[in-house]
Symmetry: C2
Subunit: 169 residues, 2 copies
Protein backbone atom coordinates (compact mmCIF):
# COMPACT_ATOMS: atom_id res chain seq x y z
CA UNK A 1 0.00 0.00 0.00
CA UNK A 2 3.05 2.26 -0.29
CA UNK A 3 1.51 4.09 -3.22
CA UNK A 4 -1.93 4.39 -1.66
CA UNK A 5 -5.02 4.12 -3.82
CA UNK A 6 -7.36 6.52 -5.57
CA UNK A 7 -10.49 7.99 -4.07
CA UNK A 8 -13.33 9.92 -5.71
CA UNK A 9 -12.76 12.96 -3.49
CA UNK A 10 -12.66 16.13 -5.63
CA UNK A 11 -9.66 17.52 -3.75
CA UNK A 12 -7.73 14.29 -4.23
CA UNK A 13 -8.64 14.02 -7.92
CA UNK A 14 -7.72 17.67 -8.54
CA UNK A 15 -4.31 17.07 -7.00
CA UNK A 16 -3.81 14.08 -9.29
CA UNK A 17 -4.29 16.37 -12.29
CA UNK A 18 -2.26 19.45 -11.34
CA UNK A 19 -1.06 18.82 -7.80
CA UNK A 20 2.59 18.37 -8.48
CA UNK A 21 4.48 21.58 -7.96
CA UNK A 22 5.85 21.93 -11.48
CA UNK A 23 2.53 21.46 -13.27
CA UNK A 24 0.95 24.25 -11.26
CA UNK A 25 3.95 26.54 -11.83
CA UNK A 26 3.75 25.94 -15.59
CA UNK A 27 0.05 26.80 -15.54
CA UNK A 28 0.84 29.89 -13.44
CA UNK A 29 3.36 31.05 -16.07
CA UNK A 30 0.86 30.49 -18.88
CA UNK A 31 -1.97 32.26 -17.03
CA UNK A 32 -0.07 35.24 -15.57
CA UNK A 33 2.89 35.40 -17.94
CA UNK A 34 1.03 34.66 -21.16
CA UNK A 35 3.73 32.18 -22.18
CA UNK A 36 2.67 29.75 -24.88
CA UNK A 37 5.88 28.28 -26.30
CA UNK A 38 8.08 25.59 -24.78
CA UNK A 39 11.22 27.71 -25.01
CA UNK A 40 9.69 30.72 -23.20
CA UNK A 41 8.40 28.46 -20.43
CA UNK A 42 11.89 26.99 -20.11
CA UNK A 43 14.08 30.09 -20.26
CA UNK A 44 11.86 32.57 -18.40
CA UNK A 45 11.03 30.23 -15.50
CA UNK A 46 11.68 31.96 -12.15
CA UNK A 47 12.24 28.55 -10.61
CA UNK A 48 14.58 27.26 -13.33
CA UNK A 49 12.53 24.28 -14.45
CA UNK A 50 14.62 21.59 -16.17
CA UNK A 51 13.75 20.84 -19.80
CA UNK A 52 13.03 17.14 -19.22
CA UNK A 53 10.62 17.98 -16.39
CA UNK A 54 8.95 20.67 -18.49
CA UNK A 55 8.57 18.26 -21.41
CA UNK A 56 7.01 15.51 -19.29
CA UNK A 57 4.62 17.91 -17.53
CA UNK A 58 3.50 19.59 -20.78
CA UNK A 59 2.76 16.17 -22.26
CA UNK A 60 0.70 15.20 -19.23
CA UNK A 61 -1.14 18.54 -19.10
CA UNK A 62 -2.20 18.00 -22.73
CA UNK A 63 -3.27 14.42 -21.96
CA UNK A 64 -5.41 15.50 -19.01
CA UNK A 65 -7.12 18.25 -20.99
CA UNK A 66 -5.52 21.18 -19.16
CA UNK A 67 -3.73 22.37 -22.31
CA UNK A 68 -4.04 21.98 -26.06
CA UNK A 69 -1.12 21.95 -28.47
CA UNK A 70 -1.17 23.15 -32.08
CA UNK A 71 1.19 24.28 -34.82
CA UNK A 72 1.92 27.97 -34.46
CA UNK A 73 0.87 29.61 -37.74
CA UNK A 74 3.39 32.42 -37.21
CA UNK A 75 6.44 30.23 -36.50
CA UNK A 76 7.37 27.29 -38.65
CA UNK A 77 8.21 24.13 -36.68
CA UNK A 78 7.04 25.71 -33.43
CA UNK A 79 4.16 24.45 -31.33
CA UNK A 80 1.85 26.81 -29.50
CA UNK A 81 0.09 25.76 -26.33
CA UNK A 82 -3.29 27.07 -25.21
CA UNK A 83 -5.11 26.98 -21.91
CA UNK A 84 -8.48 25.22 -21.89
CA UNK A 85 -11.67 26.21 -20.06
CA UNK A 86 -10.61 23.79 -17.29
CA UNK A 87 -7.24 25.44 -16.73
CA UNK A 88 -8.64 28.96 -17.10
CA UNK A 89 -10.91 28.09 -14.19
CA UNK A 90 -7.82 27.63 -12.02
CA UNK A 91 -7.68 31.43 -11.61
CA UNK A 92 -9.63 31.38 -8.30
CA UNK A 93 -7.32 28.62 -6.97
CA UNK A 94 -4.24 30.60 -8.03
CA UNK A 95 -5.70 33.69 -6.33
CA UNK A 96 -6.40 31.72 -3.11
CA UNK A 97 -2.86 30.28 -3.13
CA UNK A 98 -1.42 33.75 -3.70
CA UNK A 99 -3.48 35.24 -0.87
CA UNK A 100 -2.37 32.53 1.54
CA UNK A 101 1.30 32.68 0.56
CA UNK A 102 1.41 36.47 0.80
CA UNK A 103 -0.13 36.31 4.27
CA UNK A 104 1.98 33.50 5.71
CA UNK A 105 5.30 33.21 3.91
CA UNK A 106 8.35 35.30 3.28
CA UNK A 107 7.46 36.34 -0.24
CA UNK A 108 9.38 38.85 -2.33
CA UNK A 109 7.67 42.18 -2.88
CA UNK A 110 7.95 42.18 -6.66
CA UNK A 111 6.64 38.62 -7.06
CA UNK A 112 3.72 39.12 -4.66
CA UNK A 113 2.28 42.40 -5.93
CA UNK A 114 0.16 40.53 -8.47
CA UNK A 115 -1.22 38.25 -5.75
CA UNK A 116 -2.08 41.29 -3.63
CA UNK A 117 -3.95 42.92 -6.50
CA UNK A 118 -5.83 39.70 -7.24
CA UNK A 119 -6.82 39.36 -3.57
CA UNK A 120 -8.02 42.96 -3.43
CA UNK A 121 -9.87 42.71 -6.75
CA UNK A 122 -11.90 39.71 -5.60
CA UNK A 123 -14.21 37.62 -7.74
CA UNK A 124 -15.07 40.47 -10.10
CA UNK A 125 -11.43 40.85 -11.13
CA UNK A 126 -10.94 37.07 -11.43
CA UNK A 127 -14.01 36.80 -13.67
CA UNK A 128 -12.72 39.61 -15.87
CA UNK A 129 -9.30 37.95 -16.08
CA UNK A 130 -10.87 34.60 -17.02
CA UNK A 131 -12.89 36.30 -19.76
CA UNK A 132 -9.72 37.83 -21.17
CA UNK A 133 -7.97 34.45 -21.08
CA UNK A 134 -10.89 32.93 -22.99
CA UNK A 135 -10.52 35.66 -25.62
CA UNK A 136 -6.76 35.23 -25.89
CA UNK A 137 -6.50 31.45 -25.78
CA UNK A 138 -9.87 30.15 -26.97
CA UNK A 139 -10.71 32.90 -29.44
CA UNK A 140 -13.89 33.90 -27.63
CA UNK A 141 -15.20 37.37 -28.44
CA UNK A 142 -15.46 39.72 -25.46
CA UNK A 143 -16.04 43.43 -24.97
CA UNK A 144 -12.78 45.27 -24.27
CA UNK A 145 -12.07 46.66 -20.81
CA UNK A 146 -13.39 50.24 -20.32
CA UNK A 147 -9.89 51.65 -19.71
CA UNK A 148 -8.39 49.64 -22.57
CA UNK A 149 -6.02 47.70 -20.30
CA UNK A 150 -6.28 43.99 -19.69
CA UNK A 151 -6.05 42.52 -16.21
CA UNK A 152 -2.72 40.91 -17.09
CA UNK A 153 -1.37 44.27 -18.31
CA UNK A 154 -2.44 45.93 -15.07
CA UNK A 155 -0.81 43.18 -12.99
CA UNK A 156 2.33 43.40 -15.10
CA UNK A 157 2.52 47.20 -14.76
CA UNK A 158 2.27 46.93 -10.99
CA UNK A 159 5.07 44.37 -11.02
CA UNK A 160 7.33 46.60 -13.14
CA UNK A 161 6.63 49.58 -10.87
CA UNK A 162 7.81 47.62 -7.84
CA UNK A 163 10.94 46.48 -9.68
CA UNK A 164 11.69 50.06 -10.80
CA UNK A 165 11.21 51.38 -7.25
CA UNK A 166 13.57 48.69 -5.93
CA UNK A 167 16.24 49.58 -8.47
CA UNK A 168 15.94 53.30 -7.69
CA UNK A 169 16.35 52.85 -3.93
Amino acid sequence: MAEGHRSGCPINLSLEVFGDKWSLLILRDMIFGGRRHFRELLTKSDEGIASNILASRMKRLVETGMLTKADDPSHKQKAIYSLTEASIQLVPIMAALGTWGTRWLDVSEELSIRARLLTDGGEELWDRFMEELRAEQLGKKITPAPDGKSVRERLQEAYLEVVAAQQAS
Copy 2:
Protein backbone atom coordinates in the same frame (compact mmCIF):
# COMPACT_ATOMS: atom_id res chain seq x y z
CA MET B 1 19.61 22.74 -12.66
CA ALA B 2 17.58 19.52 -12.47
CA GLU B 3 16.07 20.53 -9.13
CA GLY B 4 15.42 24.13 -10.12
CA HIS B 5 15.80 26.90 -7.56
CA ARG B 6 13.54 28.82 -5.22
CA SER B 7 11.69 31.99 -6.05
CA GLY B 8 9.88 34.44 -3.79
CA CYS B 9 6.60 33.95 -5.64
CA PRO B 10 3.76 33.34 -3.15
CA ILE B 11 2.29 30.50 -5.23
CA ASN B 12 5.67 28.77 -5.46
CA LEU B 13 6.40 29.20 -1.74
CA SER B 14 2.94 27.95 -0.78
CA LEU B 15 3.49 24.82 -2.85
CA GLU B 16 6.79 24.24 -1.07
CA VAL B 17 4.92 24.16 2.26
CA PHE B 18 1.88 22.03 1.44
CA GLY B 19 2.05 21.38 -2.27
CA ASP B 20 2.80 17.71 -2.18
CA LYS B 21 -0.34 15.66 -2.54
CA TRP B 22 -0.11 13.81 0.77
CA SER B 23 0.41 16.89 2.92
CA LEU B 24 -2.70 18.51 1.53
CA LEU B 25 -4.73 15.30 1.97
CA ILE B 26 -3.62 15.05 5.63
CA LEU B 27 -4.68 18.66 6.20
CA ARG B 28 -7.99 17.92 4.43
CA ASP B 29 -8.64 15.00 6.82
CA MET B 30 -7.83 17.15 9.85
CA ILE B 31 -10.01 20.06 8.66
CA PHE B 32 -13.04 18.16 7.36
CA GLY B 33 -12.72 14.90 9.30
CA GLY B 34 -11.65 16.39 12.64
CA ARG B 35 -8.88 13.77 12.91
CA ARG B 36 -6.16 14.64 15.38
CA HIS B 37 -4.34 11.39 16.14
CA PHE B 38 -1.76 9.62 14.01
CA ARG B 39 -3.66 6.33 14.05
CA GLU B 40 -6.96 7.85 12.90
CA LEU B 41 -5.18 9.65 10.06
CA LEU B 42 -3.59 6.35 9.07
CA THR B 43 -6.52 3.93 9.31
CA LYS B 44 -9.35 6.19 8.11
CA SER B 45 -7.49 7.55 5.07
CA ASP B 46 -9.63 7.22 1.93
CA GLU B 47 -6.43 7.12 -0.12
CA GLY B 48 -4.65 4.55 2.06
CA ILE B 49 -1.66 6.65 3.07
CA ALA B 50 1.37 4.56 4.11
CA SER B 51 2.56 5.01 7.70
CA ASN B 52 6.10 6.08 6.75
CA ILE B 53 4.73 8.76 4.41
CA LEU B 54 2.27 9.92 7.06
CA ALA B 55 5.04 10.12 9.67
CA SER B 56 7.37 12.14 7.44
CA ARG B 57 4.63 14.54 6.36
CA MET B 58 3.37 15.12 9.92
CA LYS B 59 6.90 15.93 11.01
CA ARG B 60 7.34 18.42 8.21
CA LEU B 61 3.91 20.00 8.77
CA VAL B 62 4.89 20.62 12.41
CA GLU B 63 8.27 22.04 11.33
CA THR B 64 6.67 24.45 8.87
CA GLY B 65 4.14 25.69 11.42
CA MET B 66 1.08 24.12 9.79
CA LEU B 67 0.42 21.85 12.79
CA THR B 68 1.33 21.70 16.46
CA LYS B 69 1.87 18.49 18.42
CA ALA B 70 1.18 17.99 22.14
CA ASP B 71 0.55 15.21 24.65
CA ASP B 72 -3.09 14.26 24.68
CA PRO B 73 -4.34 14.77 28.25
CA SER B 74 -7.05 12.15 27.74
CA HIS B 75 -4.81 9.39 26.33
CA LYS B 76 -1.55 8.42 27.94
CA GLN B 77 1.35 8.09 25.49
CA LYS B 78 -0.72 9.51 22.67
CA ALA B 79 0.07 12.72 20.83
CA ILE B 80 -2.64 15.06 19.68
CA TYR B 81 -2.15 17.30 16.64
CA SER B 82 -3.79 20.70 16.19
CA LEU B 83 -4.26 22.92 13.20
CA THR B 84 -2.71 26.38 13.40
CA GLU B 85 -4.12 29.69 12.19
CA ALA B 86 -2.05 29.20 9.01
CA SER B 87 -3.58 25.80 8.21
CA ILE B 88 -7.10 26.90 9.22
CA GLN B 89 -6.77 29.59 6.56
CA LEU B 90 -6.44 26.84 3.94
CA VAL B 91 -10.24 26.47 4.00
CA PRO B 92 -10.77 28.84 1.03
CA ILE B 93 -8.10 26.94 -0.95
CA MET B 94 -9.73 23.60 -0.08
CA ALA B 95 -13.10 25.04 -1.14
CA ALA B 96 -11.64 26.30 -4.45
CA LEU B 97 -10.02 22.91 -5.11
CA GLY B 98 -13.30 21.14 -4.30
CA THR B 99 -15.28 23.44 -6.58
CA TRP B 100 -12.88 22.87 -9.46
CA GLY B 101 -12.69 19.09 -8.98
CA THR B 102 -16.45 18.74 -8.76
CA ARG B 103 -16.86 20.74 -11.96
CA TRP B 104 -14.16 19.04 -14.05
CA LEU B 105 -13.46 15.55 -12.79
CA ASP B 106 -15.27 12.30 -12.34
CA VAL B 107 -15.85 12.63 -8.60
CA SER B 108 -17.94 10.28 -6.51
CA GLU B 109 -21.26 11.64 -5.29
CA GLU B 110 -20.71 10.90 -1.61
CA LEU B 111 -17.21 12.38 -1.53
CA SER B 112 -18.20 15.54 -3.41
CA ILE B 113 -21.35 16.56 -1.53
CA ARG B 114 -19.25 18.47 1.02
CA ALA B 115 -17.45 20.34 -1.75
CA ARG B 116 -20.79 21.25 -3.32
CA LEU B 117 -22.12 22.60 -0.02
CA LEU B 118 -18.93 24.60 0.54
CA THR B 119 -19.17 26.07 -2.97
CA ASP B 120 -22.81 27.01 -2.45
CA GLY B 121 -22.19 28.43 1.02
CA GLY B 122 -19.51 30.82 -0.21
CA GLU B 123 -17.27 32.98 1.94
CA GLU B 124 -19.82 33.32 4.73
CA LEU B 125 -19.84 29.55 5.33
CA TRP B 126 -16.03 29.31 5.04
CA ASP B 127 -15.62 32.07 7.62
CA ARG B 128 -18.01 30.31 9.99
CA PHE B 129 -16.16 27.02 9.49
CA MET B 130 -12.80 28.68 10.20
CA GLU B 131 -14.20 30.22 13.39
CA GLU B 132 -15.34 26.77 14.53
CA LEU B 133 -11.92 25.30 13.76
CA ARG B 134 -10.31 28.07 15.84
CA ALA B 135 -12.61 27.16 18.72
CA GLU B 136 -11.95 23.43 18.41
CA GLN B 137 -8.23 23.47 17.77
CA LEU B 138 -6.96 26.74 19.23
CA GLY B 139 -9.38 27.06 22.16
CA LYS B 140 -10.79 30.35 20.93
CA LYS B 141 -14.21 31.27 22.36
CA ILE B 142 -16.95 31.76 19.78
CA THR B 143 -20.72 32.13 19.84
CA PRO B 144 -22.47 28.86 18.94
CA ALA B 145 -24.28 28.52 15.61
CA PRO B 146 -27.94 29.62 15.77
CA ASP B 147 -29.23 26.13 14.87
CA GLY B 148 -26.78 24.44 17.23
CA LYS B 149 -25.05 22.51 14.44
CA SER B 150 -21.47 23.12 13.41
CA VAL B 151 -20.49 23.44 9.76
CA ARG B 152 -18.59 20.16 9.96
CA GLU B 153 -21.67 18.41 11.38
CA ARG B 154 -23.81 19.78 8.58
CA LEU B 155 -21.30 18.64 5.95
CA GLN B 156 -21.05 15.24 7.61
CA GLU B 157 -24.86 14.82 7.74
CA ALA B 158 -25.13 15.60 4.04
CA TYR B 159 -22.44 13.00 3.33
CA LEU B 160 -24.23 10.33 5.40
CA GLU B 161 -27.54 11.11 3.66
CA VAL B 162 -25.95 10.48 0.25
CA VAL B 163 -24.40 7.23 1.48
CA ALA B 164 -27.75 6.08 2.93
CA ALA B 165 -29.56 6.93 -0.32
CA GLN B 166 -26.97 4.96 -2.30
CA GLN B 167 -27.35 1.92 -0.07
CA ALA B 168 -31.16 2.08 -0.28
CA SER B 169 -31.21 2.18 -4.08
